[in-house]
Amino acid sequence: MKGIAVSTTVNGDAVEYVCHGRETLLDVLRNHLGLTGAKEGCGTGDCGACSVTLDGELVCSCLVLGAEVEGRTVETIEGMADGDKLHPLQKRFLDGAALQCGICTPGFLIAAKALLDRNNNPSESEIRYALAGNLCRCTGYDKIVRAVSAAAGDMRRQQKAQARRRATR
């Protein structure tokens, strides 16, 4: 089978790889790029464990072909923290014990970030709805919803503080 050369941006870095036409973005991330944070829970778009964003849009990477992301921008869990500095969502998941086996966690974090990026003050039912495509078998979800809600608050406070700093400058 002939390979397809792809250039794309992953977590801010320019990346090039050669993949087969049948390989999914999930395969590419995990097997070619060594980014194993996205997981395969079903392979059919029903569990959200493989969540990444593509040009800022939440997608199941098991449903996207590796060849499709030519020239586009992919964000994965590996790019969420700023070096050692965790994203507020990551921090809240950690402190709020919103994870158990942790295998669904990257997917939830990516999906939650996609939500908060477009709505920084979601209601509880908006959170539940936005995360309904991500399955977790361990936690019972309650702590996940709370963590997302708390992180939204953190982010709003951060944004306000930044705005104040800018105004006083």
Binding site: E23, T36, K39, G41, M80, G102, G133
Partner: protein, 777 residues
């Protein structure tokens, strides 16, 4: 509460002490995507990927297997059938009736027949489909009632009898009988079954397996490859969920990977895709329950007879102990005086059912809760009154049907408190009021208790080991026989060691379960993980602490009583040194800084032949009130409020325990309401992916979810820091949801008819039950 537990809890200034809500040890790795699960472990360059060819028939002799097209498919390096297995063709944990690859007879659709090794996952999975298998079909038995009629059993029928149930029922003021079917459940761990086997020097094998039981993988791999236990090492750092589904089931996967690694001399990895995983591996047993009961006018049970029959599938697996546990839990929190329990273990041509959180206990409890609810509806009283009427007493009516005295009964306190905090009475009245005025939407509410026995019922399994090294900088390497599946076991055990040595938890390295470090470990199961491994680690830590104490006393010329460990320091009389400094001094004086710990659960003893004795060290308790609303036109329901009060003893880690309660409960709700396993008449499972098999999602969880842990209620038995096991018991709190739905259904006939509702209470099942209520009006 033991004095030691009180003092060590109170004095701890260290980070991560027992009783604090430290985050899961891997939380940071989980949240950054860097926690390595088995599929994330870097593969050797020459790794081969495996796929498994499955039986298409539920029961057939294999006439011919033609693998020519498979062998010549792109990328294929090797194929393997039963004939290629050098050792024993078995992955059955108890009875050797579970072939790794079917040896000529297939007994369920999805049974492994052959395996393929290829250069990529895709190549292996595509090649598998090219096989031509000719079958000679045999008659299958697919369901429980047929199996009973044909006397098709994997194990002999068992019976527990006490008193004279026949005449007690005959002489009772009231009598009822009934039956229900109760569906199984797929574990649906988000990480599917997986193993990677690496050939090592001199034919040895190193196996990464996502397993709750590395020791058993080691044994079965050794037997299959014709090696001995010393030639095989099995390691598991963490699992992406397990729930019992990785107790015996990973052996099949690991054995295939190991056999292929042995055959090809290359690393071999087998990861099942979701559909294959669901078709090929075992699930929670589905049951039918029949009962006959006699009771007085207050609903007190005077005599009861149960018939439980479960679908075990094609082999024994863990079905013996699972069905025993169902028999041990069909009392739940109720005293059954004159009782007969019959348990059939049905052999069917379906996948061999296996462990799943609760291990038969939930099915047993389902039976008695059905009876109690039926009694209440027959008498026209609140089911809670009948439940209370039948609770085990304190100092009387306190012996289980298997002759264990219930010595730690706190169900009365729990239920009283929950009735108060959940506002149960007022809400029952409100529900009735609402239903009077609402013809289509109906509300229902129920309170159900849980009493769950803790210990493996097979007494010999109640043992655990730990290994502790202290290095010269005062940091610690911790290992034990337990496995981490998300339940937080590794964190809890590290807390115990931190507490014992009085050092911060981040000075302790938590390490992967490894058969070469702690041998012969039992499965991490039966909720016993932290009870047993915590104790073993505590014993190891105490050994080292004792040596350090003796050394410090000598070194500083004080008595041993003057040596006190606290807050990362050790005080010896007037001298205070850091823990690390003391360790360094001890090393200079040639003191051993490594120890093993071994624990065996005390007090338990039980005679399987007579079903009597003390199988359980203690009981864990809890209760839940659930409220639902159903749509009588569609059968759909919504869970509107849940109040839980659960007993964790003196919790080792409230954050982790809270997660177990919430997660277990929701998992139980899935079992009883939405997770439907459906096989067609050809024995094919048709619900084998999340598209057709519905586990609860974020949007299904009650918005009003009030979960509390029972306060100041240390375990009366001397467990690790007086905590209680919490893995399984909360799952059964979900019976409150099933009975709330039943309550809503019963309101359709104005509570004049017993509802006939099978589990899971899917919209279809609820609609059928509603229709029956209407027809009989």
């Amino acid at each position: 509460m033991g004095a030691d537990a009180i003092t060590s809890r109170a004095n701890s200034k260290i980070a991560g002490a027992v009783g604090t809500a430290v985050p899961h040890d891997s939380a940071r790795l989980h949240a950054t995507g860097r926690a390595a699960y088995t599929d994330d472990i870097p593969e050797p360059r020459d790794v081969l990927h495996l796929a498994v060819g499955m039986s298409a028939k539920p029961h057939a002799r294999i006439r011919r297997i033609d693998l020519a097209a498979v062998i010549s498919a792109p990328g294929v390096v090797a194929v393997m059938t039963a004939a290629d297995i050098p050792g024993e063709n078995n992955c059955g944990p108890v009875v050797h009736d579970d072939p790794i690859l079917a040896p000529g007879l297939v007994q369920y659709v999805g049974q492994a027949v052959f395996s393929v090794a290829a250069g990529s996952v895709d190549q292996a999975r595509r090649a598998v489909r090219l096989a031509k298998i000719e079958y000679e079909a045999l008659d299958p038995i697919l369901d429980i009632r047929k199996a009973i009629a044909a006397k098709s059993f994997v194990l002999p029928t068992q019976k527990i009898e006490r008193g004279d149930s026949k005449s007690a029922i005959a002489n009772a003021a009231h009598r009822l009988n009934g039956s229900a079917t109760l569906g199984g459940q797929d574990q649906f761990y988000l990480e599917g079954q997986i193993a990677m086997a690496l050939p090592a020097e001199d034919g040895d094998l190193f196996v990464y397996s996502s397993t709750q039981h590395p020791g058993e993988i080691q044994l079965l791999v050794a037997e299959a490859t014709g090696k001995t236990l010393k030639d095989v090492i099995v390691e598991c750092r963490r699992m992406g969920g397990a729930f019992g589904g990785k107790e015996s089931q990973p052996a099949l996967i690991a054995c295939i990977a190991a056999l292929m690694a042995q055959k090809t001399g290359r690393a071999c990895k087998l990861r099942l895709d979701r559909d294959t995983d669901m078709i090929m591996t075992g699930k929670r047993h589905d049951f039918v329950v029949d009962y006959e009961v006699g009771f007085n006018e207050r609903g007190r049970i005077e005599g009861i007879e149960f018939m439980f029959a479960s679908r075990c599938g094609m082999s024994v697996d863990l079905s013996g102990a699972i069905n025993d546990r169902a028999m041990f839990h069909c009392d739940n929190a109720y005293f059954l005086d004159n009782v007969t329990i019959v348990s059939h273990r049905c052999k069917t041509n379906t996948v061999s059912n296996t462990a799943f959180r609760g291990f038969g206990g939930p099915q047993g409890m389902f039976g008695i809760e059905l009876v109690v609810d039926d009694i209440a509806r027959h008498l026209g009283v609140d089911p809670l009154e009948v439940r209370r009427e039948n609770f085990y007493g304190i100092g009387e009516r306190d012996t289980t049907q298997y002759r264990q005295k219930v010595e730690d009964n706190i169900i009365h306190e729990i239920v009283d408190e929950l009735v108060r905090t959940s506002d149960y009475r007022k809400r029952v009245a409100k529900v009735r009021e609402f239903n009077q005025a609402s013809p289509v939407l109906k509300r229902g509410i129920a309170l159900t208790p849980v009493k769950f026995g803790i210990s493996f019922t097979a007494t010999h399994l109640n043992q655990a080991g730990a290994l502790l090294h202290v290095y010269t900088d005062g940091t610690v390497h911790l290992n034990h026989g337990g496995t981490e599946m998300g339940q937080g076991l590794f964190t809890k055990v590290a807390q115990v060691v931190a507490n014992e040595l009085q050092i911060d938890i981040d000075r302790i390295k938590i390490t992967a379960s490894d058969t070469s470090k702690v041998p012969n470990a039992s499965a991490t199961a039966a909720s016993s993980g932290s009870d047993m491994n915590g104790k073993a680690a505590q014993i190891a830590a105490k050994k080292i602490k004792d040596r350090l104490t003796e050394f410090a006393a000598n070194h500083f010329s004080v008595t041993e009583l003057d040596v006190v460990f606290g807050n990362n320091e050790v005080r010896a009389g007037n001298n205070t040194v850091s823990f690390a400094e003391l360790v360094r001094l001890a090393w200079f004086s040639r003191i051993s800084l490594s120890a093993t710990g071994f624990y065996r659960t005390p007090k338990i003893n039980y005679d399987r032949a007579t079903f009597s004795g003390r199988p359980f060290f203690y009981f864990a308790y809890g209760a839940a009130v659930s409220e639902v609303i159903i749509d009588t036109l569609t059968g759909e329901h919504r869970l509107t409020r849940v109040d839980i009060l659960h007993d964790c003893g003196a919790s080792l880690n409230p954050a982790i325990d809270m997660g177990q309660i919430q997660g277990g409960f929701i998992q139980g709700v899935g079992w009883l309401t939405s997770e439907e396993l459906w096989w067609n008449a050809e024995g094919e499972l048709k619900t084998h992916a999340p598209s057709t098999y519905k586990i609860p999602a974020c949007s299904d969880v009650p918005e009003d979810f009030r979960v509390r842990m029972l306060e100041s209620s240390p375990n009366r038995e001397e467990t690790i820091y007086r905590s209680k096991a919490v893995g399984e018991p909360p799952l059964m709190l979900s019976l409150s949801v099933f009975h709330a739905i039943r309550d809503a259904v019963a309101s359709v006939s104005n509570n004049t008819r017993r509802p006939r509702l099978d589990s899971p209470a899917t919209p279809e099942a609820v609609l059928n039950a509603v229709t029956e209520q209407q027809v009989s009006e």
